[in-house]
Structure formats: structure tokens, C-alpha cells
Symmetry: C2
Subunit: 229 residues, 2 copies
């Protein structure tokens, strides 16, 4: 008896989220800010990757980040070392961010002051997949230490993302990571999915990621083009 | 408006789960099977750890495993290399196992034929925490590659578990894992929490884990005592 009702209530929540996400996306577009969200397991290295990204990009662009966790301000503290503005969202027991939480976190920021906004979701390969946050680009991260078959086991999140990023490549040899198998897993779930390899430790692939963001079709509204000169 | 209703429906689902879990626990006790569940992030190495455990234990005990994933039979296939009976549960989009799924998976097994049953939950540090599966011991695993602060970020799952197991210790040096910080994280969330360090690759700590199970207060009903001689 409870199951259909639960499904119905969940649908309402999702529908409500879509409305907020749509409004957010419109605001982002209007303000000329390109929004990138990151999803992955806990411990894949989203925060380290984001810290490196913010540090690299803030030399030329106005970047900021919003970061979600169930508890602690740890990630916001870490990210603030990049000198970029950072807001922490704590979700309590909720395993994903919702558009309304992002909206609230952005309340006292003027979006026109930003070129790129990063949203780091709660570490989870399931819950975040159905929640649109108004982002322009969703990146799903998996680390070489997690094994090659994560895309097969969590197909929905890979399908909801625009780009896959394999992290901690500096450990690939130590864990005997099988690149071919990983590529096959990703391609079988999401044919032709765009893929990057990065190491926040060695710096491998970081420039490629930044270049990828700069090339994104919507990344170059007037404000950013000016900055680029 | 939707939030209170969602909370209410969730409570009903949880209550229903508790009833099934209680019945399961009674059946496990009666059959003299000791049940251990494993929870962790995706990629922490639950399956490798379980494969090693089954292989070690099946020489002297009757062991079996039930393993949950959103999709694929990969884990059941891997675990069956241990020669122990294994059942795969696929949850579709659900981020946790529920007691009713375990009950259904066990339908055609005679629990009296088992000494130890292992339940590997879906890789997730949030959803499984509130679902009792009728287990005697819940182990939460975290790998050295995930970082030292996972307990602080996911306190509920550490609070719902009986024992913490740090995996992939063979990689600790490569990732400069800070053991003191990890201990502090665990202890601050759950003072005096029991802790083991294991590596499925090198075998470190595997015997200690098996010994821990054999010493568990409820692990020694008559059938197992006989086997132990």
C-alpha cells in the first residue's frame, strides 16, 4: 500500500525541484555565469579536484563554489584555501542537493559578479541523479581506486551526466587500473560519453578540464569574452 | 506542503521495514546463523573483502552471501569464485537494501544449513543507515583512498554500525593516509567504536576480522560449536 503513495509523493518533490531548477537556470543564463556540478561517490576526490580547478581558474576568471555535505564545513574550509568565494550547504540526512538549497545558498551573492559557479554535490552515486540543479554541465567523477565497473553498477548517474572524469590517475598503476575495461564500462552505459583523466595530486589533466570549460558553448557570454582578452 | 507528507510516508516505509527485519532476525536466531552486513561507499572494496572472507571461512564454516547493487550481477559472479552460495539482489534505482528484499532472496535457502550469512549492501553512505536488515553485526567500511574525514561527513551511517573497517591499507602510504586523523574522526562521531584495518590485497587484518566474528557473543550456537571442534 505504501509504495505507490511514496512514488507519487516523490514525483511531486521532483516536479517541484524541476520548477526551481528551471528558474535557477534562467537566472544563471541571464547573469552570464556558467554552472558546473560535480557528482561522485564519497572519497572520489571532488573537493581536491575542485580546489585545484578554482585555484587555476581564479587567476583569469571570477569563480565561486557551493558545496554540499550531510555534515561539517570541512569542504568549504578546504575550498576557501583557493581564495574563491565558497558556501557550504549541509543537508542533514539528505543524500543529494536540491535546487532550492542551491537557490538559498546563492541568496546573498550577485551572480553577475561570477563567470563560473561550481556546485559540488553530496558524495553519492544514486540520489543526485534525478535532481536538476540548473547546471549547464554535470560531471560525474570516478577514481581509479573504486574499480572499473562503477558505470555498470550506477548507470543512472552516468546517464544523467554530460562528462565523465576519472580521478586519482597517479594511483592507477598501484591499483592496476584497467583503462580499457573502464572505457568499455562507460561506453556501454553511455556510448560516446566524453571522458577526461585527471590527478589533483600530479596535476595531470587539470588544464584539459579548464580548457573544456572555456570551450563549452554557453561559456562565452560577453562578460567572459572580455575577460578572455 | 509536500515535505511533511513525504516524511510521514517515509516513516511508514521504515516502520514496515522494521517489522520485516524483526521477523528476519528471529528466523536467523532460531536457525543459528550469524548475520553480518557490510555498508560503505561505492568502490571501498566491500566485494573484494567479502570474497576474501568467504574464501577464508568456508574451509571451516558454512557461509553464504547476499549482495545488493542497483544493476549487474557482477558482484555475485565475483563472490561465487569463493565457492560459497551467493545471491544477487538488484535494486533498480533504490540506494539501499530493505529487509523484504533480503527475505525474498533467502526464500529458497534453508537457513539451518548456514553458520554465517553476509549481506553486502548497495554502495552508499547515506541511504542504508536507517534500514535494519535483521543483521547481528553491521560493519561500515571506509578505504584509505577516500580520506580521513568520511565519518564526520556521514555520521549517521557510522552511528548505525557496530564496527568500522578501514580497507585498502596497502595503499595507505601512497595516499599519505593520516591514521591519527582517521581515528579522531571515528571516535568523535562514535566514541569507543571498534576498529579494524584490512587489506584484501595483502591479506592484512583478514584473520583478525574472522576471529572477531567467531568471538561475537551470538556466533556460537550449538551447530557452530560442533564445527569448531
Amino acid at each position: 500500500m505504501t509504495e505507490p503513495r511514496l512514488v507519487e509523493v516523490r514525483k511531486n518533490v521532483l516536479k517541484q525541484n524541476d520548477l526551481v531548477a528551471r528558474a535557477l537556470r534562467a537566472r544563471f543564463r541571464e547573469a552570464g555565469v556558467f554552472v558546473v556540478s560535480l557528482v561522485s561517490s564519497p572519497g572520489t576526490g571532488k573537493t581536491a579536484f575542485l580546489e585545484k580547478t578554482l585555484t587555476l581558474m581564479r587567476q583569469h576568471y571570477r569563480v565561486a563554489a557551493v558545496v554540499g555535505d550531510l555534515a561539517t564545513e570541512n569542504d568549504a574550509i578546504r575550498l576557501s584555501r583557493s581564495q574563491a568565494p565558497v558556501k557550504q550547504i549541509t543537508t542533514g540526512t539528505l543524500c543529494h542537493l536540491e535546487a532550492a538549497m542551491v537557490e538559498k545558498a546563492l541568496e546573498d551573492w550577485n551572480l553577475r559578479d561570477l563567470d563560473f559557479l561550481f556546485i559540488e554535490n553530496v558524495g553519492n552515486l544514486v540520489c543526485p541523479s534525478s535532481y536538476d540543479l540548473g547546471e549547464d554541465l554535470r560531471a560525474v567523477l570516478m577514481s581509479v581506486t573504486e574499480g572499473e565497473d562503477k558505470p555498470l553498477k550506477y548507470p543512472t548517474i552516468f546517464n544523467s551526466a554530460d562528462i565523465a572524469i576519472i580521478t586519482k590517475t597517479d594511483l592507477a598503476e598501484a591499483v592496476e587500473f584497467d583503462w580499457d575495461e573502464a572505457y568499455r564500462s562507460i561506453q556501454s552505459v553511455r556510448p560516446h560519453m566524453e571522458l577526461l583523466r585527471v590527478s589533483s595530486k600530479s596535476g595531470e589533466g587539470m588544464d584539459a578540464f579548464v580548457q573544456r570549460l572555456l570551450k563549452a558553448p554557453c561559456t562565452m557570454p560577453s562578460t567572459r569574452q572580455e575577460l578572455n582578452h
